[in-house]
């Protein structure tokens, strides 16, 4: 590449001496293409990350002067019960949200046929992912309503008193996660359907000749080929679990009594609290969430780096 462009430069250079700009165009060109995007991305994404970490060392209501408090926000966080509730709920989200991966695979296997109308079914199963989480939240608030929701009706049909899922401190987080699983399963399903489409028919045939069937076939022949799909499914599910915000904001606003809070919502609630903004404390919560997320981001980047090299 460099030699080719070098030749082009010298050929043209025989007429008149090439300018510095012209000689270095291959070196400079990427920066011209990058500049607008890079500036934009730095201002709104990269720099704010460091600003947040910095702000977490201050007490600040967003209006007046910042007051340096050092690690005080983090010390307060360690003693804050709401922080532990949120952390515990985030853990539940992470663990239970993972069910979306096998569930998505199961539905994908169920739908991976060629009967007439299957395309329609595939689209309809994917449907929940396309609608906003706000709408999903409203749908499930309605679904769970003990007096006129589907849950209420089913319970009453069996003669039982319907539980108030979103009003019960022990059930509420699971109710919200269940609602969140609905679109997430759809996402994983579509990843697997595309993956299954590309499974090598030769290997499946070879497996059949070796008498591999059912679970064995799935485990030893199909799943290894679905590895890229599984990788993406896990990544987007982890990120989705840690980002969970919309559903909580819509369905419970962290309640009852903060029992369904997660770090993302806890941070929002604290920073923009009705009782006065607490930017510093909020940023400290955000920093903790960021550090947790960084583990997964690093893992993803490391995997990508391996692919780039190999």
């Amino acid at each position: 590449m460099t030699t080719a462009s070098g030749n082009a430069a010298t050929l043209q250079g025989s007429a008149k001496p090439p300018s510095w700009l012209h000689r270095n165009r291959i070196k400079l060109a990427p920066w011209f293409f990058l500049l607008p995007g890079l500036i934009f991305f730095s201002v709104y994404v990269i720099i704010p990350i460091f600003q947040s970490i910095w702000i977490s060392l201050f007490a600040w209501d967003g209006l007046g002067a910042k007051e340096w408090v050092g690690m005080a926000n983090y010390v307060e966080l360690i003693d804050d019960d709401r922080f532990y509730t949120s952390l515990k709920n985030n853990l539940w989200w992470l663990v239970l949200y993972m069910l979306a991966v096998p569930a998505g695979l199961a539905i994908a296997l169920f739908l991976n046929q060629t009967v007439t109308g299957i395309r329609f079914y595939k689209s309809m199963f994917f449907f929940p992912f396309v609608i906003s989480q706000v709408v999903v939240g409203l749908i499930f608030s309605w679904f769970y309503n003990p007096s006129f929701g589907v849950v209420g009706i089913v319970w009453e049909f069996f003669g039982a008193t319907p539980p108030s899922i979103l009003g019960d401190e022990d059930l509420v987080t699971f109710g919200i996660i269940f609602a969140g699983l609905w679109p997430q399963i759809a996402y994983c399903m579509i990843l697997y359907l595309t993956g299954l489409n590309n499974v090598s028919p030769d290997q499946v045939e070879a497996g059949r000749l070796d008498n591999a069937k059912g679970w064995k076939m799935l485990w030893y022949i199909i799943l290894p080929q679905l590895k890229p799909a599984t990788f993406i499914a896990i990544v987007v599910t982890v990120i989705g679990a840690l980002r969970s915000f919309d559903l909580i904001a819509i369905m419970t606003q962290g309640g009852p009594y903060g029992s369904s809070n997660v770090l993302a919502y806890f941070m929002f609630e604290t920073a923009l609290s009705e009782y006065g903004f607490r930017y510093g404390y909020g940023s400290a919560i955000a920093t903790v969430l960021f550090v947790i997320m960084l583990v997964y981001i690093s893992f993803f980047l490391w995997r990508m780096y391996q692919d780039e090299k190999g």
């Binding site: 462009s5 990427p30 704010p48 890229p228 799909a229 990120i239 915000f245 819509i250 909020g282 997964y296």
Partner: protein, 283 residues
């Protein structure tokens, strides 16, 4: 093909499968069906306990008209359009440039910069919230459509750059090389040679970003306060407070909010899925 194609199975299995499909779909979409049904029945039905039965009267048009006449849903929908479309154009356009730079040129910074874009795409929103809100307030962009567009476009650049870069990387490099030998200027190579080839990627990204931005709720609540710029997602939440116990109207408004991304998905399904799988199929 796995699992075994059903047409090689016995007639019984095949019929069984055909019966299973609609039942499975019905259960899967049950929560949605419940609110579709609610959105077309009269409000009195719910108070009378008729929630899941046949509506006493079909009020499809009445209920949906009521949403527009009794609330600002029309304004919210229009705000969503004003936020979503410019964001898509801005971010997809910029990502063509960044994706091109990071895939075609081999320079020392290509991989580190690429990874910064990818990492930025995954960060939690909350780590950006306070500085971005503060920046918007200080520059007069708080509570404006432009402010939201600029932020969204910048943030989505992470995902779009990842996608574009990988897409362009997969194009035959010899094309670009031979154009260079012919002495074609770098920008002309980008514009006349590469841009026509990345059209499928532009389509995939456009539908995907459209859906992401249309469905955004978090940034709308952080950066917008008044009705004049509130998008429909945050608007539906506001309507929920306004239409207390008028469930038929809340349902209708929620479904309205979902219509544009759903239409987009059905119209451009192939591109949509290509975007979502992030090249998971190639490996």
């Amino acid at each position: 093909m796995f699992p075994k194609p059903i047409e090689h199975s016995s007639a019984g299995v095949r019929t069984g499968y055909q019966i299973m499909l609609p039942i499975a779909l019905f259960i899967w979409l049950l929560p949605l069906l419940a609110i579709v049904l609610t959105s077309i029945r009269p409000g009195g039905d719910i108070n009378a306990g008729n929630v899941f039965g046949w509506p006493s009267d079909f009020q499809l048009i009445e209920n949906y008209t009521a949403v527009f006449t009794q609330s600002k849903a029309g304004l919210y929908l229009w705000n969503s359009v004003k936020i979503t479309i410019p964001t898509v154009i801005l971010t997809v356009g910029l990502s063509c440039l960044t994706g091109y730079a990071l895939s075609v040129y081999r320079f020392k910074w290509a991989i580190p910069l690429f990874f910064i874009f990818v990492a930025g795409n995954f960060v939690p929103f909350q780590i950006l919230m306070v500085p971005v809100r503060d920046l918007s307030v200080n520059t007069g962009l708080y509570n404006t459509v432009h402010g939201l567009v600029l932020f969204h476009a910048a943030f989505q650049l992470g995902f779009c750059t990842l996608f574009m870069r990988n897409f362009i990387k997969a194009l035959p490099f010899e094309l670009i090389e031979s154009a260079r030998i012919e002495g074609v200027a770098e920008f002309k190579i980008f514009w006349y040679l590469v841009m026509p080839l990345v059209k499928p990627a532009v389509a995939a990204l456009s539908v995907l970003i459209f859906t992401f931005i249309w469905n955004d709720y978090f940034w709308a609540t952080v950066l917008i306060q008044g009705d004049h710029a509130l998008p429909i997602t945050a608007g539906v939440k506001a309507l929920n407070g306004q239409f207390v116990s008028q469930w038929h109207l809340v349902s209708a408004a929620s479904l309205l909010a979902a219509v544009p991304p759903v239409l987009m998905f059905f119209a451009m399904q192939k591109h949509f899925i290509a975007g979502l799988t992030l090249g998971a199929t190639k490996g």
